[in-house]
């Protein structure tokens, strides 16, 4: 399958011209929020901000699951790692993120058994290989990833594994977008909606944004042409005064999402409240394991744990960046004291944090 057309400079040029023409007709300032951290990186890596019209601002949102993981969740993951005879497995993204006092990378350096895996299936395989140890998977992620953890627990059940469990710090996106849209400090005109989260949930969960809050959203893919297409479609909606949830990323998202995936999630998880770093608790945006699956819930099965009191980082403006109120280079610590080498907050540490993306790929905010 040849998908190179989605990187084609000529098609991109056509879209950029169309974007500029439509923005000119709109006239006023418009703010589009790219929700997904992977979009932030795609935009930065492809230099797309530089080709946006003057009156269109792309704001980065809280779509970096690592960035929005609250300190107390990281602290808990670290407590689990400190348990004897326990192997903690995690995606690479989480390793360097600072909790209140430490990070997974630091714990590993101190001799704890922390291992990076590419897939929760690798954690399952490890549990099979090490029957005398407890293998815990640190589950951080949005709807793209949550079904995978549910499927892994399903496999653990099938295999009768008794030494595999999960620490769930999962979050869901649509309700959080509503919270952002209702936040008076944040002024978003439209959402660039996450492509792969939508592969799982489809367009329906976002409908309330359009119908109740009159904010358009376009489900967008990740190649440069995909992103430009999404932006073009949003501007068209704004020009025409429409507010709908549209799919630009047709090849990746079906009208009904992936029902098999979501059924698995609902089998093992139920909605709970979640604490989003920098935003606060957003009710109903977390997912906790149902009590009948306590055997796979690391905190219940291997606890009790006593993590220290969480401590916030002084001066860090990650929260405002995550809500789109402050651009990364407007943070007083950006490039002065907070850099990828010496990060202070998660937005700079995470590979898809807004601050990291700006710092790595652009000249903004640097001498």
């Amino acid at each position: 399958m040849d998908l190179s057309g989605f990187r084609d400079p000529d098609i991109a040029r056509g879209l950029i011209d169309a974007i500029n023409a439509t923005a000119a007709k709109i006239g006023r300032e418009v703010k589009l929020m790219e929700v997904c951290g992977t979009h932030t990186v795609a935009i930065a890596k492809n230099g797309l901000r530089a080709v946006m019209p003057e009156n269109v601002t792309l704001l980065s949102g809280p779509g970096c699951p690592v960035c929005v993981t609250a300190n107390e969740d990281i602290d808990m993951a670290i407590e689990i790692a400190r348990r004897t005879d326990t192997i903690v497995t995690t995606f690479g993204d989480m390793m360097k993120v600072p909790g209140s006092y430490s990070s997974m990378a630091r714990e590993k350096a101190d001799g704890r058994d922390v291992r990076i895996v590419y897939s929760p299936l690798d954690a399952l395989a490890l549990a099979e290989k090490e029957p005398d140890k407890q293998v815990v998977f640190i589950a951080v992620g949005f709807e793209t990833t949550i079904p995978l953890i549910a499927a892994s627990i399903h496999r653990a059940e099938e295999q009768g594994l008794t030494n595999f469990s999960v620490f769930s710090a999962h979050k869901t996106v649509p309700i959080a977008l509503g919270a952002l849209a209702n936040d008076p400090e944040v002024k978003i005109d439209a959402f660039i909606l996450p492509g792969h989260v939508s592969t799982i949930i489809g367009p329906e969960p976002y409908q309330f944004l359009a119908k109740d809050l009159h904010i358009p959203g376009v489900i967008t893919g990740f190649e440069p042409v995909d992103v430009l297409q999404g932006i073009y479609m949003l501007l068209q909606q704004l020009l025409e005064g429409r507010a709908e949830i549209e799919i630009a990323y047709h090849r990746g998202v079906m009208a009904h999402g992936n029902p098999t995936a979501w059924a698995l999630v609902e089998k093992y998880f139920e909605p709970i409240d979640a604490d989003w770093r920098g935003i606060g608790v957003i009710p109903g945006t977390g997912l906790g394991l149902r009590s009948e699956y306590d055997a796979y819930n690391a905190v219940v099965k291997l606890g009790p744990f006593n993590p220290p009191e969480p401590k916030e980082i002084k001066g860090c403006q990650c929260g405002e960046v995550l809500r789109g109120i402050t651009l990364p280079y407007q943070c007083r610590l950006f490039a002065k004291g907070c850099t990828p080498e010496h990060p202070i907050g998660p937005c700079m540490v995470s590979s898809e944090g807004s601050c990291a993306a700006y710092y790595r790929f652009t000249d903004y905010g640097k001498a």
Partner: protein, 335 residues
């Protein structure tokens, strides 16, 4: 050798160490100067300037697709010496072995070193072996130091890059890093990618002969192409711009990088050379690279312009972004 494993006694200077040296090290390295086993090798040396470099190799696993730590240890130091424009001549080898390390593995590594040295045309003339207690070393660490002689008139430096110069790359990017990561547990994927570890002194000599005003050579090892180009940009105070479409990358390396979320510009290489050459000599330099061993995929990938000491990438889609340097390790990501 009475033991099939390295013991502490093999490093203690007594009869067991003598046994290791005489029965394994000397025959495996097979070098006349080394055979004499003097504390210092005394060697003929051309008059003029000396280029001198050292590096220590701690890669794990020690055997990986297409190579091993031994080949790396010889090629890496040969290449470092050669980037100064010197002809590499002599190599020293220091082993730190962990108690319990298999003698058979050591011999495999040493034979690999001998072959690499022969290929590069250098001599392993002196060395040292120490053994540490089990648990205090990762199997084997190797230090190699190399000396070479620099002919008169050759003066290369990363600070000599000038606006108008072209940037050349001797071949495909990212092979070594991907070969290593494909062996890592928990990231299992199948690939036929092998390390590119190779001695490039002949390639460098050919390029210098065809393009005598070459400003600098450097091999993009840890930190990848990005570190090398950022170093050049900073020390010369110029802007480097790379055209993404012109950079040779094997499809499998691209596939693995996309899967893991890696930036191929930051992945390590062990058999590639970057050269900065004045524009009027660039074609000749390229032809010389392509005609040299390990240079068949060489390409002109970018140019130097006036501007701040930064590196930019003109993306395949037409926009420009910064080529940033690696911070810490690249970790596979899902986001």
């Amino acid at each position: 050798m009475r033991s099939d494993r390295i013991l502490l006694a093999h490093g203690s200077g007594g009869t067991m160490m003598r046994e290791l040296i005489e029965e394994c090290i000397v025959p495996d390295f097979d070098d006349d100067a080394l055979k004499r086993l003097d504390d210092a090798a005394t060697l003929p040396f051309p008059t003029g300037r000396v280029a001198f470099s050292t590096d220590t190799y701690v890669v794990h696993p020690i055997f990986f697709p297409g190579g091993d730590i031994g080949r790396l240890a010889i090629c890496g130091t040969v290449n470092d010496v050669a980037t100064s424009g010197a002809t590499p001549l002599y190599i020293s080898v220091g082993f730190v072995l962990e108690e319990g390390f298999l003698v058979e593995d050591l011999r495999r590594v040493m034979l690999s070193m001998k072959e690499a040295a022969r290929e590069a045309g250098v001599h392993i003339v002196t060395g040292d072996t120490k053994v540490v207690e089990k648990g205090h070393g990762d199997g084997i660490f190797i230090n190699t130091a190399g000396v070479g002689s620099i002919a008169d008139g050759i003066d290369l430096s990363g600070s000599y890059c000038k606006p108008g110069d072209k940037v050349l790359l001797s071949g495909t990017l990212g092979d070594h890093g991907i070969a290593i990561i494909s062996t890592r547990e928990g990231l299992s994927f199948e690939t036929s990618i092998e390390t590119d570890a190779a001695p490039l002194n002949k390639l460098i000599a050919n390029v210098l002969a065809a393009a005598p005003d070459t400003r600098a050579f450097r091999d993009p090892t840890r930190g990848g192409l990005s570190s090398t180009l950022n170093e050049f940009a900073a020390s010369s105070g110029v802007t480097v711009t790379v055209t993404e479409n012109d950079v040779p990358v094997k499809p499998q390396v691209r596939g693995a990088s996309e899967m893991l979320g890696y930036d191929v510009f930051q992945v390590a290489n062990e058999g590639k050379m970057v050269a900065v050459v004045p524009a009027e000599q660039a074609d000749a330099a390229l032809a010389a690279m392509k005609a040299s061993p390990y240079g068949e995929d060489a390409a002109i990938i970018g140019e130097i312009t006036e501007g701040p000491g930064k590196v930019y990438v003109k993306t395949s889609f037409g926009a420009t972004r910064i080529m940033d340097m690696l911070v810490g390790e690249q970790l596979p990501r899902i986001c």
